[in-house]
Symmetry: D4
């Protein structure tokens, strides 16, 4: 089934990160982008992670999304091993609330970029959208479905407006 | 000359940001990616900025790179107006050293991602590389030149090693 | 009914911000300032937001209050589109506790101010008072009711003193 | 000469703050808003500061702009003594780069708002513009000159674009 | 009863601060230092606060302890009005976790010190001990009772050691 | 029983730190490194703490692990008194979430290092592993058991992958 | 000469801190408080520091002022060894600008307070004033000279006002 | 010459880090610990870095010291590949002053510790001392020389005291 061959690899450093990265999965499902989910640790199991990164491109993966907390080296580790674009999702799993993972991803040294998004669930959803934007450049189907997704999002603002109106009425 | 039709738009909020964004220009030139440079302000001249963003896709631009300092709304502003992927370069032009611009880009709300890179020159160079990685997905020429760029970068590490060895010798 | 024509527009980026902005509504109701509540997103539905901002002045709005979380571009977005004074209420809706939204509002670049108040409910209440202070400059009725509001506030300090005295007695 | 009776009071905690607040003076001069400059310290000379604040309204002042560094209590001090709107300019005069003065102004408790702008010169200029926006609500002359100021600012973006083009040419 | 004439004034900006400042009260009671508790707001009721500060010295108060959250101006306000030493207790009552109140107290400008202690309950207890240390310089009774308090504290460390030993045993 | 003579001393400033430091105990037990647990306060009972540090080396302790919160002086205090390597575990027991204890440990002045690990439970576990790495340099048994521990850790990543697969299946 | 017997001990962790602590010396000289200056390191020479702290009280010292940078343990170290009040001056001698030393002093655990003042020179001057306020409680001469010092400070605000007026004139 | 076979590997991510890491070299030279200096990048040349880490133990290296700036993944990368203890030196080479590199090292996830020291030169010197402390556990010669180094350090405090005394005299 060629259409379900994964285009995006979602990589998490720990299975406890799944709760946040479900937002990424949901967005990719909504836009109809086939993906795979992988647990891989730059620090605790670097060999597996390296093999995964090294093979991703030839297996047809176009974008990697990596979520991690604390000294979140995972996306940078993948970025050092593959020319594919890497999106980093900082996860707030330490007492420092994700400032540590945000800086560990965004502040990558010259030469090896990580496309960093927001800490936590907002960022996880946005990672999916960003992957879709990148794929849409060479995939008219994704482009079309992304446009629909964006329209639905604008419509959601109006629904929010209705919810606010309803709540304000209730109080009176 | 169709090959020089710009693929990447580099947008800056103020001409004082050019010093940092020269790093982006240099990388894109090195990898051979045609680009254009634009001054546009989300806050001070929103109409021009909107027109630029709205027309970018149909003019052949594939990726937008926006640098700004302080409450750095520019990349998010562009992201709200075009489905193209947007890369944000936080610039340290206020006394808060770029923490303000980093958070103003990375912490984008759910729905409108900005691919945020490091504060300042490291980030500016990485924005160029990230754009190349994205374009390489559908452009074999860029893919090849990006691979060469990455090889040169690894070689640069060895040159750094030689410089260190030379300096340590001198001291003895 | 000319007296209820709204003078203040309260704009929120998401309906989940209503919980915080109810404090603004309460203050404006207390001081008797007619207002309207709008859901508008600079990022997800920029066209609606722009139309709202562009028409606000001629519809009689004198002050806009905008609450948002994360990379909180909404007040700056409105400020770029209308000469009306804009008050920004940073909302702590991300794991970074509102430091992100505070910096995204306060650190506006030269040329386009946002009058930023405190993160969360304190700030939401203060946004209402600040709007009243601005309106009071040209509206004797508001000025009078604001003076009464301030007197009540000072009296509230004395009631707090009584509550403390009562609690300390209980413990003995 | 009634037109030069000051409408805005610029208050600074120390004469060393003048360097930053010159930006405020320049903006008010540009827009043609009469103003006065005062040195007053909430901490070191509270009686003078109180007298100034208490008399400001009846002397015709409509907006107070206060700049201070460190634990920057000055704008909040003024706000507790007058119903006029107070704009706070955080100044980066301590080793903490102005984060201290920003938080000391923005985080005002419920009841006594300070309209806080950016740290340093950007904020000082914006304080002048915000004061103009407030005065413009009841002064058609200011409204007109503010509109011209905003147009000039948008034009300045285009001049910045020309400077960038010139600089890029030079390098080739 | 002259011995119960208060030596320390505990001032809080809001009755919600009592929960934290109970730690101060408990320490002063333990060491046997007569004190009074006052609700006073630098911002919402400055006249009362000023009267309290101005009369404190002649009423026999030797040290003032002021707790407040957010832009915590209260201790600095008192310090500007009386030569008595002022101890500031930053309270974490905003989403910024007390970093705002810590900086608003510690970063007082040259000329008007606030003796700042830790954010929250640790600081509230330490404010009481610091007041005792100051009073002990001229009061042999306080000096003696403070010495006993410090001994009890050291003994408490040994009790903690026993609790740890007991808990570790339980697990085996 | 010579094999159970403790090699590592785990020192905590307060018995409330035990909850975090249990992670250290667990790791040392897993790798089979004999250890002792001590409550000692640099601030509240400095004499006991000094005696403990001074005697540690001759009693056969090779590494000290010290956990503390706030202005976490304990590891640095021990480091000033013994040539043994000191590992510091910052504990998030104040409203500032452990940033205070992290800086109080890591930023030790030139001359007296503290090997600082992550805030909270991650760091507590890592302190145990770091102690094992140090001991393994001269203890073949520890080296072997540490290697097994690391293998188990890599295997755990694969188990996490299975848990993720199971959870994703459930949702479908 | 009994009047010159030092009442205040100024302790610094390194001779490079003298530049900042000269502000303390200057204030104490101005108010006429005899003092001594000591270099003592909690970390690098703890025995000397302990002896100094232990003997301070019986040698007539009433207040200790300790300045240090980084993980600034010195004031807390002294506080653990003497019942005298300790004032801590955070010094910005690391790349983290003094946030590290501020937190290492202010966040002292329950039981052992450090009266923390501002980072750097402002704080150094304020440490001297705070010491004077404490001594003034039992020394009428200091009280009188402190009152004069405060008056001079208020007068200095007026001189600042004149300097500002002069500078503004010059520009016209 | 077997005694000069390196025991410590000093690894830097870029030759620009040498300026800071010279402090490490100086300390190791002073204590007489043979070492080697390596430029290796986890991100730009991961294969070389991996080979270096994998061979370090069998080549006789006992401790690795890694310095890096920004998203400083280098020490964690090495830690994932060798059981040797890794010391991380955060370097302040970005506009964020080293807070980014400190968090990227200290906040390592459970399982893979990095012994983190202070940002910049203080930390670089301390990394050398910490390595000496670790080696001293099984090397009597290092233990002896380390003791001498610590004594010299304490003596240096007294020299600082003399320098302060001399400077204070000069001013009189």
């Amino acid at each position: 089934m060629p259409t379900t061959r994964p285009k995006v690899g979602i990589v998490m450093g720990s299975d406890s990160d799944l709760e946040v990265l479900r937002e990424t999965i949901k967005v990719l499902d909504d836009i109809g982008i086939p993906h795979e989910v992988v647990v891989a640790s730059a620090h605790r199991a670097p060999d597996q992670a390296r093999k995964y990164a090294a093979s991703a491109e030839r297996r047809g993966i176009r974008v990697l999304i990596a979520g991690a907390g604390g000294a979140a080296a995972l996306p940078g580790f993948l970025a050092s091993l593959t020319p594919l674009p890497i999106i980093g999702v900082p996860i707030n799993s330490t007492p420092l609330n994700g400032l540590d993972s945000l800086l560990s991803m965004a502040q990558m040294p010259k030469g090896v970029p990580v496309a960093t998004v927001a800490v936590g669930k907002w960022g996880a959803a946005n990672a999916g959208i960003l992957a879709a934007q990148i794929l849409a450049l060479s995939d008219a189907g994704v482009r079309k479905r992304l446009a629909a997704f964006r329209k639905a999002m604008a419509a959601e603002v109006q629904q929010g407006a209705r919810r606010v109106a309803a709540q304000l009425k209730k109080r009176q």
